[in-house]
Subunit: 92 residues, 7 copies
Amino acid sequence: MLKPLGNRVLIKLIENEEKTKSGIILKENNNSPQFAKVVELGEGVDDEGKEVKMLVQKRDKIVVNKYSGTEIKFEGEDYIIINQSDILAIVY
Amino acid sequence: MLKPLGNRVLIKLIENEEKTKSGIILKENNNSPQFAKVVELGEGVDDEGKEVKMLVQKRDKIVVNKYSGTEIKFEGEDYIIINQSDILAIVY
Amino acid sequence: MLKPLGNRVLIKLIENEEKTKSGIILKENNNSPQFAKVVELGEGVDDEGKEVKMLVQKRDKIVVNKYSGTEIKFEGEDYIIINQSDILAIVY
Amino acid sequence: MLKPLGNRVLIKLIENEEKTKSGIILKENNNSPQFAKVVELGEGVDDEGKEVKMLVQKRDKIVVNKYSGTEIKFEGEDYIIINQSDILAIVY
Amino acid sequence: MLKPLGNRVLIKLIENEEKTKSGIILKENNNSPQFAKVVELGEGVDDEGKEVKMLVQKRDKIVVNKYSGTEIKFEGEDYIIINQSDILAIVY
Amino acid sequence: MLKPLGNRVLIKLIENEEKTKSGIILKENNNSPQFAKVVELGEGVDDEGKEVKMLVQKRDKIVVNKYSGTEIKFEGEDYIIINQSDILAIVY
Amino acid sequence: MLKPLGNRVLIKLIENEEKTKSGIILKENNNSPQFAKVVELGEGVDDEGKEVKMLVQKRDKIVVNKYSGTEIKFEGEDYIIINQSDILAIVY
């Protein structure tokens, strides 16, 4: 599996179908933020070595800016590695 | 519901009608700041992990720069997620 | 009324007429700073949450750079919300 | 009078005539620094609220970069408000 | 051999063949991150002399942004010297 | 005389003739650094008011980047006011 | 001789011939880093006066980014003055 480094977070976008079932509807606007699930967390250290409190947990459903982070295919699955600072909100 | 991350604030713009009733009239200028209501607050940590004092509270009526933040539709409602630093003033 | 957030200051520009009576004459140059009165003060915290000493007081007559800050019409009056750092000097 | 804010300094340019009498001759180059007299000093706090040691005193004759700061006409006199960091040297 | 300075890391890209055997398939996208092996580590000091915790170890298999760092040929082998902050994740 | 402010240094360029006598030959390249003599030193405070250790002394022969600092003519002599950080090396 | 200031390092590029003898072959790519020898070290203070640990020693063979630093001819020899942060690795 992939362990994100520093203050990064490995996420998996939630498909639109799933979103509609749970009542969440994304705006059609291309720049709307996206919903995703947290898969793995970095250990909470930023690039300068300072401790950064991780504010999300594994399996949290989150809102991220579209086009944030780096897409990566790993063992057949599509993930995105983002900085925690790209997470706008947690859905609860 | 949505819990904004870090020093972010979830707000809902106040419609023009409501504003006129309470005597507030926005300038016609497109770049005028906007009035909004605070819906949810982050826990007061910035993107580098430093504590940031949250200066607004839920239900505060605030003034924000137009075009600040990220629009998001959630459970049928339009919200904006902004950084606290985009809030110019509290209406009291 | 409006309570500016953080290290912001709510000011009201002083009209040219008033200025002439008190002997102050602005240069015709469009980029000359402007005279204004302090209406309300933020609580002295910058956008990163650090305490910032407020160096002006309500009713101070101040000099601000032209085009600083954000214009806002509130209850029929024109104000400007500026950062304290846009204030060049106090008139005494 | 004007009290500069923060780490700013109110100065008055020294006319060319005066300079020639004291033996100082400015280069003809348009970007040459200028000689000025310190009129008033800020209280030594920078825009982030940190204390800044004021290194000049009232009536000091100083060298400033040309085009530094903001010109202001006040009670019929021309002044410039500069940041202390725009002062290159003290003449002694 | 080469000892990277500061918070740098010497890495060797993993060839595509090897990746396919272990079940990892890179996206065809030219900007996909790349897999690499950590060869040598700096001593964990950033360019300003502050201590930076090294988060990877020799022989770790890592994910790095494509086009990060500086390519160098040394004793017939191709390496890349990157900053630790260019490492996105560790494969485990 | 001129007392440089803060972490600035007043220098006088060394003429090419003198350089050749002491065996130093500047490259013909227009961007080659220049040799100069330290005339006066600031008191070792940077523009934010933090103490900065002065690493050169009066009469040191130094190497400075060409086109660094501000040229000033004072009492008939040509000087340059530079930041200490523009000094590359001391000749000893 | 030249004593580099602050966190600078005086280096001398190693000629290609010498590199080939010791088995090091530079890529033909114009942007490949270069091999050099450390001649003199600054005292380990950065431009803001903070102590910076010097990570190299005199006579170390190092790898530096091409086009880093400032070329200087001194007593007939060609040197480069670089910041320590331009050094990528030590050869050992």
